[in-house]
Amino acid sequence: MDYKIADIKDPFNAEIVKQLGNSEYLVKINDNERNLKILNMSARGIEFILDQKYHKVKYLDNTTSQMKIVVDGVPITLNMHNNLNEIVFKNSGESGVGNSQLNLYSQIPGKVVKISISEGSEVKNGDVICVLESMKMQVSIKSHKDGVVKKIKIKDGGTVAKNDVIAEIE
């Protein structure tokens, strides 16, 4: 299987070479053989000793092709594929997706204290779309591109969760 870690350029190839016992494995990561001894395992995480070093890993969020995990307190995002090289190559050729993205998402949770635009408004990249309040702070949510506001998905005084859609901008 091939793996790609966000922020790290080259992908990894890794596989289990063989099982040495019920909880012990020989694992190969980029041609290096490593001994892996599992101490505990659950749906939420795994604890193991890799060669002589203990690690605690939590699984936060999984899809078939992506895992968000926390390794010894360090959050790491992994992409997995049977032939990842191809995908990484393809992705790197693409231009930024920002401009084609319709939805403006909120990166924070909060209460809507002000909506600065109306449906049909023309906006520029960086224009304030709305103001959210959270933890006694006011935070402006800005447009991610130039365009026209097609739909406003929030209400004055309402609450917004992280990753909720604020507006559709075309």
Binding site: I46, H55, I76
Partner: protein, 497 residues
């Protein structure tokens, strides 16, 4: 004598006050909003009363409701913590009227501390130096120019209307001042229909250094050393320490005495803090008195050995401060990091929600004041301070490495925190050298360095991450699918063959 204290607050400071009350055999009354049913302060107090909805105005700021609970619970004193009603002189007056012992200064003194212009005036009379500038509004450009020449360029022109960077201009000479005077007046007239301009000396590369004050009702007053709180973001303190790397015993004595003088000038009683700005030439300028127990009081406790909440209660009981200035000596060094729920990379925007798992650090010299527990929730209704992580050491370096290690051990799942930022700061050469200023983050490009550190952390853990993914996908999926699907918690202790 105080026998039962209502704590008009929540979070870590409510827990902090409960802790001391327990050691003194004083009963505690907690109050809580709809959002705080499952908060630890509710669970650790002797009694707990529900006071209203989540929004602060409907609960923790609701003076009438809180007074009701004080009276019905039979509390004879109230501790305001920080924030909320802690610097509201109306509330103090309400307590005084109802013969409730407020653990802080008198209403009159608090009011004076809160009025910056009046307070500056009082300090001028008491010969406590404040930031040089016009004592009041200036009449015209000529007066502004004359003051600027007195205090020396560069100066700031500030419109009393405006704020957030608007209506404020930095000028370096007479010509710039005349031009700016026109502009600021014009802007202010246009926006508010009126103009009112102050002149103030512009201070560069400043440090925020404050002195802990205690003054009893018998007139005894001491300072309990300084705290340096220069590491800030948007004027909010992030990292505090005592002693300051630029304060020796001579400066401590000198500025400490100024701080005491400031407390006397406003007839301050109980515990408070005199805040100063210090510029590179070594001059200190008084800015204000914070009329409450500060967030960062633990660093002072660690280097003085005092329990400051106990001292508040003793003073409120009418006792004399049980020591003299000369009895106080700085013991070692303490550094605190405020662990906020915020996203450093989103301009410190709040990050809230459930916290399924927490590991709270401990060890020699480490103290962590926090409301966190595994399974708690960080609420969007209240401020972002989740924990205060303190480390004491025999010297700055020992305190620094202990704090750094404790930060490494601190795990908070579910929300973004300032922990990674503090690790980068504590490892920086500039911090190690004590080269601090309120613009530390920008001046030394800390956010960029943080990104680099995070990338290096990832590289360090990459093999473990890959190994975990391999095991997960190959072995785990096949074995425990059913349990995973029902999303139940379980733990398999594997047989070792």
């Amino acid at each position: 004598m105080i026998e039962k204290v209502l704590i008009a607050n929540r979070g870590e400071i409510a827990l902090r006050v409960i802790k001391t009350c327990k050691t003194l055999g004083i009963k505690t009354v907690a109050v809580y909003s709809d959002e705080d049913y499952n908060s630890l302060h509710v669970k650790q107090a002797t009694e707990s009363y529900h006071i209203g909805e989540a929004a602060p105005a409907k609960s923790y700021l609701n003076q009438e409701k809180i007074l009701d609970v004080i009276l019905s619970s039979g509390a004879d004193a109230v501790h305001p913590g920080y924030g909320f009603l802690s610097e509201n002189s109306d509330f103090v007056n309400l307590c005084e009227k109802n013969k409730i012992n407020f653990l802080g200064p008198s209403g009159a003194s608090m009011e004076l501390c809160g009025d910056k212009m009046k307070c500056k005036d009082v300090m001028a009379k008491a010969k406590v130096p404040t930031v040089p500038g016009s004592p009041d509004l200036v009449k015209d450009a000529d007066e502004a120019l004359s003051i600027a020449n007195d205090i020396g360029y560069p100066v700031l022109l500030k419109s009393v209307y405006g704020g957030g960077g608007r209506g404020i201009r930095l000028v370096h000479n007479d010509k710039e001042l005349r031009e700016a005077y026109e502009t600021v007046t014009g802007e202010s007239m246009a926006a508010f229909g009126k103009s009112a301009i102050l002149v103030e000396k512009f201070l560069e590369k400043i440090r925020h250094i404050e002195f802990q004050l205690a003054r009893d009702t018998h007139g005894n007053a001491v300072h309990i050393f300084e705290r340096e709180c220069s590491i800030q973001r948007r004027n909010q303190k992030l990292i505090e320490m005592s002693p300051s790397p630029v304060v020796d015993q001579k400066i401590r004595d000198e500025i400490g005495q100024l701080a005491v003088k400031a407390a006397v000038a406003v007839d301050y009683t109980n515990l408070g803090t005199a805040e100063f700005l210090r510029v590179d030439d070594g001059s200190f300028y008084f800015i204000e008195i914070n009329a409450r127990l500060q967030v960062e009081h633990p660093v002072t406790e660690l280097v003085s050995g005092l329990d400051l909440v106990k001292l508040q209660i003793d003073i409120a009981n009418g006792e004399e401060i049980p020591f003299k200035q000369k009895d106080l000596k700085v013991n070692g060094c303490a550094i605190e990091g405020r662990i906020n729920a915020e996203d450093t990379f989103l301009d410190f925007a709040p990050s809230t929600g459930p916290v399924p798992d927490v590991i709270i650090p401990s060890g020699p010299g480490v103290r962590c004041d926090t409301y966190l527990y595994s399974g708690c929730t960080v609420s969007p209704f209240y401020d972002s301070l989740m924990a205060k992580l303190n480390a004491w050491g025999q010297n700055f370096e020992e305190a620094r490495v202990r704090l750094l290690n404790a930060l490494n051990d601190f795990y908070i799942e579910g929300v973004e925190t300032s922990i990674p930022l503090y690790k980068t700061i504590l490892k920086s050469k500039e911090f190690m050298e004590g080269n601090l200023s309120t613009d530390f983050l920008q001046r030394y490009n800390i956010i960029e360095r943080l990104k680099e550190d995070i990338k290096n952390d990832t590289i360090q853990k990459q093999d473990a991450a890959i190994a975990a993914a391999v095991i997960h996908s190959v072995r785990y999926n096949s074995r425990v699918k059913s349990s995973q699907e029902t999303n139940m918690y379980w733990k398999s202790k594997l047989d070792r063959s």
